[in-house]
């Protein structure tokens, strides 16, 4: 079985990784972690020519950061499932399209994606990658949602950076 885990550095992504890590997968299951860096110019529309170099530089930094945290997630899963079973990749492009394309090329059986659970105006403005993947993917998709913990104010303020550290401590 091939499991493609789409991540960003958000808490919901780390939750998805944690859920995957805690499941009794069959031996031989392969995991690929993917992080997609969107072209910055596409997010900001037309910009001055002078800004192009800055954007290219920013994209490089985002990719480097993506490589760092996907490697961290990869290392965490390798400790559980073994070195050979886990790989990670950072690619550039539109998020949903890139994930669907990679899933198709890699012949993934299931795409695991965390959901921010956006609704209403947030969803209209920011969109939902999970929803796009669900609508267009050729394979099954598991949307993992955050468990809402009552009386836990820190959960809403956490940007996800501490989640992986907690997972590593657990291992």
């Amino acid at each position: 079985m091939k499991v493609l885990i789409a991540v960003d550095d958000s808490l919901c992504s780390h939750e998805a990784v944690s859920v995957v890590a805690n499941r009794p997968w069959a031996e031989g299951t392969q995991f690929k972690i993917v992080h997609v860096v969107e072209p910055i110019a596409a997010q900001y529309g037309l910009v001055a020519p002078e800004a192009v170099n800055l954007m290219i530089e920013a994209e490089k930094k985002l990719k480097a950061y993506g490589v760092k945290f996907t490697t961290d997630i990869g290392d965490y899963l390798k400790e559980i499932f073994g070195e050979q079973q886990v790989s990670s990749v950072v690619i550039g492009g539109y998020i949903a399209d890139s994930i669907i394309e990679l899933a198709s090329d890699w012949h993934a059986d299931v795409i695991v994606v965390g959901s921010h659970g956006r609704t209403g105006l947030d969803k209209i403005l920011l969109g939902s990658v999970a929803e796009k993947i669900v609508n267009r993917s050729h394979c099954s998709v598991e949307v993992i949602k955050m468990k809402i913990k009552k009386n836990d104010d820190t959960s809403s303020k956490d940007d996800g950076s501490t989640a992986l550290a907690k997972q590593k401590q657990a291992v």
Binding site: M1, R23, P24, A26, V110, T119, V134, E142, K145
Partner: protein, 151 residues
């Protein structure tokens, strides 16, 4: 772990059960196979009788799942109402960890209302596993779980 497996009264339930069996499950997993008969369906009255399609589907699905995951607890249930609403409500009341349901991958827009899988994935409080349904799969050469069981 508590899991709802949502099936409709078509043959698609076999693909959903096949996908479920392939997933990893803790030994204490409790499955609840659920089908919802929407108001106005002919099957509504038939759900009261043993020969109804909804009843038949959930019992067959339950038997197949139990056969392949013998250590797990499997319940089945037929409810009436709006499919997405019922699924989300049962998931919230039963505090499930995951809902599994099939999807054809149809898109919605401002004119076409959201499909049941879309509504469930948007509104549910838990994770949602959407099994891609492939109409051609049944006729493909690969033996399915149900065929293998029959052999």
């Amino acid at each position: 772990m508590k899991v709802i497996i949502a099936v409709d009264q078509t043959d698609n339930w076999k693909q959903i059960i096949e996908a479920t069996v392939k997933r990893p499950w803790p030994s204490d997993t409790i499955f609840r196979i659920l089908t919802v008969v929407e108001p106005g369906d002919d099957a509504l009255d038939k759900t009261k009788t043993q020969g109804s399609s909804a009843d038949k589907v959930v019992h067959e699905a339950r038997a197949l799942l139990f056969k392949h995951l013998p250590g797990c607890t499997v319940y089945s249930e037929v409810r009436k109402g709006k499919a997405a609403d019922e699924l989300v409500t049962v998931a919230a009341n039963w505090m499930v960890d995951k809902i599994i349901l099939g999807t054809h991958g149809r898109k919605s827009n401002r004119l076409i209302p959201a499909t049941v899988p879309q509504q469930v994935s948007q509104n549910s409080c838990c994770s949602v596993d959407l099994v891609k349904l492939t109409p051609a799969k049944a006729s493909a050469g690969e033996p399915s779980l149900t065929q293998a069981t029959a052999q």
